[in-house]
Amino acid sequence: MKRIGIIIALLFAIQWPAAAQDWDPGGALKKLSAKASKAIDVTLDQSMLQFAGAFLDSKDPDQAQAKKIISDMKGIYVHSFEFEKAGEYSEDDVAPLRAPLKEPLWSRIVNVRSKHEGQNVEVYFKKEDGKFTGLVVIATEPTELTFVDIIGPINPDDFRRLGGQFGIPKVEIDQDPASKKGETK
């Protein structure tokens, strides 16, 4: 947590040159969808987010937090795929999702591998004019792949607090450090 805090603080301190990028990973996602046995697709542009915001109940703690998080957002796109068995998708399927997430506009702040069910999670932030304007999460497991694309402006602190809310259960990570591989930026 401390390390993520330091990384986020560093990101605030560094000035990235502004650049506009068009990015449509649609082709890669269609291929994954064709291979998957189950798929969840959430596509919410700015108008839908504003529409949904009107129906979020401020008296419900989860919904109030959600309302706060999405208040200025321009889009949330979540695609989650489940596969029958391991090996049904490959690194070649994932690489196109990652390809546009390059510096100087994008910065990968987390890339962790966990022996727990072979999970790998990458977190990318986009920064323009000193503000965070994008978040991408790519999470892979042998039989599951999740791609989250959030178009900001966003507050990284709001997302740090997401874990533990909305009924997200605690994740047990293997306690054996010798079996773990991982890197963080």
Binding site: G53, V78, V137, A139, G163, I168
Partner: protein, 121 residues
Amino acid sequence: MNRLEDELKRALEPVEPPAGFAERVLARVARAEDEKPVRSRRWLGLFGFGVAGVGGLRWAAACALCVVLAASGVIYERDMQRRRGEEAKDQVMLALRITGSKLQIAEQSVKELDSTSQPRQ
């Protein structure tokens, strides 16, 4: 500080609710389930009540029908709007839950790496 904490634990020990609490909750839930919105049938009064003659009756019936159709359209549209809004809301919550769960995995993994990379004392 230990004594204060011990005393606080003692003072704030959980207490049983009054007898019959669970039954009262279940009864209240059952009442809430039974309460259905009662549709007003007042519009039926337009047909024949206080309207003179057959012609008047037909005219009243036609007017009532128009009002009902218009109102139905409005109600339908409002219902659809509300349903779409609820669906959009559910989608937002789903998206944030999925995002949160993946970020939590990343955070937990970083914490784990942090703790294993601390020098042993």
